[in-house]
């Protein structure tokens, strides 16, 4: 099954992880919440918005950036900084920079709205006479779409190539893939990949305008699902060639991307573009569909997304692989969803845990891909018939952007 694998492409290992989301700060808190079946969603009370539920990260407001990074001060970068601090991620990058040289470590990050909340606040403080924005708005270092990788590169003392990937809700999944490309092309020896998206009025009011916000906590896959719950998160992976990693390190086994070429905000109803991305990811990993033990769905909880994704997954996997969404735990973290769910995939493998679907009272009877049933007496655990060794994670975005990652350990084949 390795026919599609390019032999020149080096195996890329994950040598450090960092994550903050509504489930908590760091991997241990996140794994605890998953194992307990505990959602991070709360009733929305943010930026004047009161509709639905949100996944809000504790402690973002009180966190302050170091003085040397003060120009970057905004919610999105505070969130990112919390994730750099989590689980010794920044220290691991520092060690990699010493090994490879700071100019050989790339930074490729996804975000959909960067620090737009700073501009939202500034638009409420415009000069009444001239309409000018207040002096305190540092657009270049906050709202500008290039600000996040510049902040992370500066925070980590790196000097390698950096850029933002902004393909809406596929952003940080694509960033993981593009980071591997820079290593494969020989332009970098390591890459900090991932992304951050933080709560803001734009996305809360924008998804409300599209009538896609669920009244209660989101219910992915449920027959009565009525939309999504927005969350915020930041997550990072350090990628290096397999030689630099411990033998049991997690790896990006493959990834694939595609476009729908259909509509700017509605998915193709037949899921054909999404299926193409999943097939490309399996081909790149040299794996048959049956080698996947759990599919972490994009599963936003909107009627259209979940229905199209069921079609797409069935086209590739039939009903052979359990598939569920973790959006009811974290909320839909938009541009950060890809990296959040890639890290949740590694936690599932590490802890032998398929997170039980939350708020799934009555699975949509029209769906052909069955959700994993909850294990009696263990609220966060879905029943599983085999060990969790390889996970496929889907991320789909506005603009028709699809990206799919396959995570596991290279020796698990």
């Amino acid at each position: 099954m390795a026919a599609m694998t390019d032999p020149a492409t080096p195996n890329i290992s994950i040598t450090a992880r960092g994550l903050v989301s509504a489930l908590g700060h760091g991997l241990a808190a996140t794994a605890d919440a998953l194992a307990a079946g505990r959602s991070g969603l709360v009733a929305c009370d943010f930026a004047g918005q009161r509709r639905g539920f949100i996944g809000r990260v504790e402690g973002v407001e009180s966190h302050r950036l170091p003085a040397r990074l003060a120009a970057f001060e905004c919610r999105n970068h505070r969130l990112a900084h919390l994730a750099l601090d989590a689980d010794g991620f920044a220290a691991a990058v520092g060690a990699a920079a010493r090994r490879h040289g700071p100019g050989r470590v790339a930074v490729v990050l996804g975000t959909s709205t960067s620090g737009v909340l700073a501009s939202e606040e500034a638009y409420r403080a415009r000069d009444a006479a001239s309409g000018a924005l207040p002096d305190w708005l540092d657009f270049e270092h906050t709202h500008d779409l290039g600000a996040l990788p510049r902040f992370v590169r500066a925070a980590l003392g790196l000097a390698g190539p950096a850029f933002t990937v902004s393909t809406a809700c596929a952003s940080s999944a694509q960033a993981v893939g593009l980071g591997t490309r820079l290593i494969a092309a020989g332009i970098a020896d390591a890459a900090v990949v991932g992304g951050a998206d933080s709560l803001c009025g734009l996305t809360l009011a924008g998804f409300a305008a599209l009538d896609l916000i669920a009244a209660g906590p989101c219910r992915p896959g449920d027959a009565a699902r009525d939309g999504l719950s927005i969350g915020e998160a930041a997550g990072f992976l350090l990628l290096e060639r397999a030689e630099a990693a411990a033998p049991d390190a997690f790896a990006l086994l493959g990834w694939g991307a595609s476009s729908d070429g259909y509509h700017l905000s509605a998915p193709r109803p037949d899921g054909a573009g999404a299926a193409l991305a999943m097939r490309a990811a399996l081909d790149a990993a040299g794996l048959a569909p049956g080698a996947i033990d759990w599919i972490n769905l994009h599963g936003t909880g909107t009627p259209a997304n979940d229905a199209a994704e069921d079609q797409a997954v069935f086209a590739v996997f039939a009903d052979a692989v359990p598939a569920s969404s973790t959006k009811a735990y974290t909320g839909h973290t938009l541009g950060a969803a890809g990296i959040v769910e890639a890290i949740l995939a590694t936690l599932a493998i590490e802890h032998g845990l398929v997170p039980a679907p939350l708020n799934l009272d009555r699975p949509d009877p029209s769906f052909r891909v069955p959700p994993p049933p909850a294990e009696p007496g263990r609220p966060g655990h879905a029943q599983r018939e085999r060990p969790v060794r390889r996970v496929l994670s889907n991320s789909f975005g506005f603009g028709g952007s699809n990206c799919c990652l396959v995570l596991g350990r290279p020796d698990s084949a």
């Binding site: 959909s112 924005l133 779409l145 290039g146 510049r150 990937v165 393909t167 506005f398």
Partner: protein, 281 residues
């Protein structure tokens, strides 16, 4: 990083209405004159969609369509890398203005048009592409970052369309982020293994150096230098000038505190005429 072949090119900017009409200006053989004629309305999309397109999307579609026509490829076969610093600033401004009102009600269409990859999305919809599509941003180094991402994307073996596009932001954002006039540039890249393809304009190789570039636009005529310094997408001008001149060139683009070094080698002098002829046909 493996070199690429450039097999198609397109652009739209003030006084630069497409590649063939701009060639003499780019090569320094004719003077530049400002002309802010809007790019042609893309025939690729249904009329209802066309009317709603903002300036930056129209710029992007015009340059992308020109580049794939010159390359003579089925555009659905290419992977797409779009690069934009500002995205659709007019849409972002309208949404920010509404959000500052007491009970904001956003337009759903404006909200989905506010995503940074809107132009990329409209391009894939217009041509019916299912190919991988990226959208890259890096402030003033957006073009250099997009070029790096596009060259890396060639690893899959498919041709890659790189389309850089940026338009000025409206007031009051304009005072925070100056962008002088709208500009878009597009390149179709192909892997450079084997013999030159008949339509090849030349070979391009890249190197990232962790030291700053000195006077990166000094070799351009003064008018083009001002364009390059006034719009992130117009940082494609030194490469466009090298292609138009048909002469080997070593260029350096600023990349944050570092630089991206470009080496351009025309494959055959006659190729340019052949390629432009094919694009016109």
């Amino acid at each position: 990083m493996n070199p690429a072949r450039i097999i198609g090119v397109g652009l739209w900017g003030s006084g630069l209405p497409g590649f063939p009409p701009s060639r003499a200006v780019l090569a320094g053989q004719a003077p530049w004159a400002a002309d802010d004629a809007p790019p042609p309305v893309p025939g690729l999309l249904p009329p209802a969609e066309r009317r709603r397109l903002g300036t930056t999307v129209r710029l992007a579609l015009a340059a992308a369509a020109e580049a794939v026509a010159m390359a003579g490829i089925d555009p659905r076969a290419a992977h797409n890398v779009f690069a934009t610093s500002n995205g659709d600033g007019a849409v972002v401004h309208a949404l920010l203005e509404e959000l500052a009102r007491p009970a904001p009600l956003l337009s759903p269409t404006q909200f989905h048009n506010s995503v940074h990859n809107a132009a990329a999305g409209y391009w894939t919809i217009a041509i019916g592409s299912r190919a991988p599509t990226q959208c890259i941003a890096l402030h003033d180094a957006t073009f250099a970052a997009g070029l790096l991402a596009a060259m890396a994307e060639l690893a899959d073996g498919a041709p890659v369309l790189l389309c850089a596009h940026d338009a000025p932001l409206p007031a009051p954002l304009a005072a925070k982020r100056r962008t002088e006039t709208g500009f878009a540039a597009a390149f179709v890249l192909a892997p450079a293994q084997g013999e030159p393809a008949p339509g090849s304009l030349g070979r391009l190789s890249l190197r990232y150096e962790a030291e700053a570039a000195a006077a990166p636009f000094a070799a351009l005529p003064p008018a083009l230098r001002r364009l390059a310094e006034g719009n992130p997408a117009a940082q494609a001008l030194p490469l466009l000038a090298a292609i138009a001149s048909g002469r080997p060139a070593r260029l350096a683009l600023p990349y944050l505190d570092a630089r991206l070094e470009l080496a351009f080698e025309p494959e055959r002098a006659v190729c340019l005429e052949a390629a432009i002829g094919a694009g016109r046909a």
